[in-house]
């Protein structure tokens, strides 16, 4: 069954597309973006998620949707926490709380940074551990990893790393109190010990960016953004620790599925009812891994500040290298939403989707309550990134969710056949982007042509009433995982 267009930026996947759907699917996008989702089987995954017990309203997909493993990437599913809703680790993914943080500065691109761009990218490259098998900026004991799992960004702050105000501008104040470090296995701890403050591989990066255009001056002003300004975007997650947490708990749930009456169309959708002991244990471990992810990006940001201090010979504070926001795009959270006129507690799974609370939401930091939650959307390597804000209408449209990036359009194998890594590197340098890749040969897998058009994705989000565009940033330097 083909999705049918039901609004200018929305397509419905009807109940019956796969057997057992409890709600329809709803894909936000444009005709071009939808065509890509149909092509790569992601629509079937939207329908598969709609079969999960306790799912309410619809199985949503953001405009950057693409084929995942179980859940589609770009998928949002809200489960009734007061009824028969389930938790599915596959709806969060292996890289728990993978996300983005944005630092702003008082530096102007043309005046301050452009003359020093090579030194700056080199200094960043030297302070951002990246690639597979690399060690992070901090090497911790198991005991200290447990503290990170409990305290999130408060752990590095207690060691004098970062600014106190960093925590205020982080989702959940940088720490989820419901974390249960005791539910994180020794195997996961061992993966986490050497990895705090490491970027990882794949699509993770630290990018130097310049604010190219401001479309919402009031919101940009509140965030401290202005045209010509140098910013730094960091994209990373919970590293091997988070991957192991998902692996461990998914295995438990997979085992329980054989005994439960729940049937799922894809084994990776393994789930248990909320309230089940296995659900509680997973949620505690997932929140602990989320705290690790925030602390990881916090420690990476410390490396960024150190690089700027070295190159500009001024303190990071003096350079105005302050956090704009830090938000995850792989997480499940308990949130209150109005459903059929009644406020209900829902467990909202976001797999490659960003929370986007509108203005006035009580969970937002006071500084952003008037404008809505900042949403940070990295483009593909070499293309623009965007800062958005959540809209009040997104609560009703998508359980306060929007996109998370450009979304892949081409497999890694195909991408490597189009250009070599060296050719991609040369092409980016010709566009004025200075590079520090972990390995030049791997650049082609993350080449811009392997992704969808991020501008079309964010325009679709705006058209669908999910979020509003505040500013566009263009890359000038990339440190790649």
């Amino acid at each position: 069954m083909e999705p049918r267009q039901v609004e200018p930026f929305g397509w419905e996947v009807p109940v019956g597309t796969v057997e057992g759907m409890r709600v329809p699917g709803m894909i936000f996008g444009t005709p071009d973006l939808l065509a890509k989702a149909v092509e790569d089987r992601a629509v079937l995954q939207v329908a598969n998620v709609a079969t999960l017990p306790g799912i309410v309203k619809a199985s949503y997909a953001m405009p950057d949707i693409h084929w995942g493993y179980g859940f589609p990437i770009g998928g949002v599913a809200a489960m009734d926490a007061e009824g028969d809703g389930v938790i599915s680790p596959g709806g969060v993914g292996f890289d728990i709380a993978c996300g983005v943080r944005l630092l702003r500065s008082e530096l102007g691109w043309e005046r301050d940074a452009k003359p020093l761009i090579r030194e700056l990218v080199h200094a960043l490259g030297a302070r951002v551990p990246r690639g597979i098998g690399t060690k992070g900026r901090l090497h911790l004991s198991r005991g200290d990893v447990r503290k990170v799992l409990r305290d999130g960004v408060r752990f590095p702050l207690s060691k004098g790393i970062g600014f106190e105000q960093d925590a205020e501008r982080c989702e959940d104040g940088g720490v989820l109190a419901s974390a249960r470090p005791e539910e994180v296995s020794d195997k996961a701890l061992d993966r986490g010990c050497p990895q705090l403050g490491s970027l990882g591989a794949g699509n993770h990066f630290v990018e130097l960016q310049v604010v190219e255009e401001v479309l919402e001056p009031v919101a940009a002003n509140v965030m401290g953004l202005f045209v010509g300004q140098v910013c730094v975007m960091i994209h990373s997650g919970s590293r091997g620790l988070g991957h192991q947490v998902c692996t461990d708990h998914l295995k438990v749930m997979d085992g329980l599925m054989h005994r439960s009456r729940i049937e799922v169309p894809d084994r990776q959708l393994a789930c248990v009812p909320l309230g089940h002991e296995a659900a509680e244990r997973y949620l505690g471990a997932m929140n602990a891994a989320a705290n690790f992810a925030r602390a990881n990006r916090h420690v990476l940001a410390d490396g960024v500040r150190e690089a700027f201090e070295t190159v500009f010979e001024r303190s990071a504070w003096d350079l105005g290298l302050f956090l704009v926001y830090d938000v995850a795009h792989n997480l499940a959270k308990f949130e209150e939403h109005v459903l059929d006129g009644r406020t209900r507690t829902l467990c909202v799974h976001r797999k490659g989707a960003t929370r986007a609370f509108g203005p006035g939401h009580p969970e937002l930091p006071e500084v952003y309550r008037s404008i809505g939650q900042p949403v940070l959307i990295p483009g593909s390597m070499g293309t623009a990134s965007y800062v958005l804000v959540g809209l009040a209408s997104s609560a009703e449209r998508s359980f306060s969710s929007t996109c998370h990036g450009a979304g892949r359009a081409m497999s890694r194998t195909r991408a490597k056949k189009v250009m070599s890594g060296a050719e991609v590197g040369r092409s980016l340098e010709e566009q004025g982007i200075t590079l520090a890749p972990a390995h030049l040969g791997l650049l082609s897998e993350e080449a811009p042509y392997a992704y969808k058009d991020v501008a079309e994705v964010v325009r679709a989000c705006e058209g669908a009433g999910l979020s509003r565009i505040v500013a566009r940033l263009r890359p000038v330097g990339v440190v790649k995982g």
Binding site: D40, A42, H66, W67, G68, Y69, G70, I73, G90, G93, F94, D95, G131, I132, G133, T134, K187, D190, R191, G200, A201, G202, G240, H243, Q244, C246, T247, L250, K251, D254, G255, H258, D266, R267, Q268, A270, R408, A409, M410, S411, R412, T413, R414, A438, H439, G441, L442, E445, G481
Partner: protein, 142 residues
């Protein structure tokens, strides 16, 4: 490690964001071993130097679950000990468990390959084909 013959071998399957493995062998241990070799190739963690022989064990409630658990054990072993693999031999396999002997050696430098987060249950399958052999499919989150 990547020798491909009609009897045993592996190939990578296209996926928009991730990567799949199809591996085959005349026996199930051989097919599982080929899947492990595919993982090692993808991650760029094959080493040529002779290494220490170690035992890796995995368990689950069915053969496909064992395959996922086995590959995840290798990922964990590589990451926590910073090692690559010179050889991987599945020496015992049942419907609920596996024992493999691996030859592991320190990686000379940061590996040049794709960072694999985990083996997933997405479309995982182990197919026994009488008279032909065994074929397995598994997708990796990269």
């Amino acid at each position: 490690m990547s020798a491909v013959t009609p009897d045993a071998g592996f190939e990578l399957l296209e996926h928009t964001a991730d990567l799949g493995i199809r591996a085959w062998g005349t026996t199930a241990p051989e097919a599982f071993g080929q899947a492990a070799r595919a993982l090692v190739e993808v991650m760029g963690i094959r080493v040529d130097a002779p290494g220490r022989r170690r035992v890796v064990k995995a368990s689950a409630q069915d053969p496909a679950g064992v395959l996922v658990a086995f590959l995840n054990e290798l990922i964990w072993f590589h990451e926590t000990e910073s090692v690559g693999f010179a050889a991987i031999d599945v020496i015992a396999l049942s419907d609920s468990g596996l024992v493999a002997e691996v030859e592991a050696a320190p990686l000379p430098e940061a590996a040049v390959g794709i960072g694999v987060k985990a083996a997933t249950y997405h479309q995982v399958r182990v197919e026994r084909r009488p008279g032909v052999g065994v074929e397995v499919h598994v997708f990796l989150d990269v």
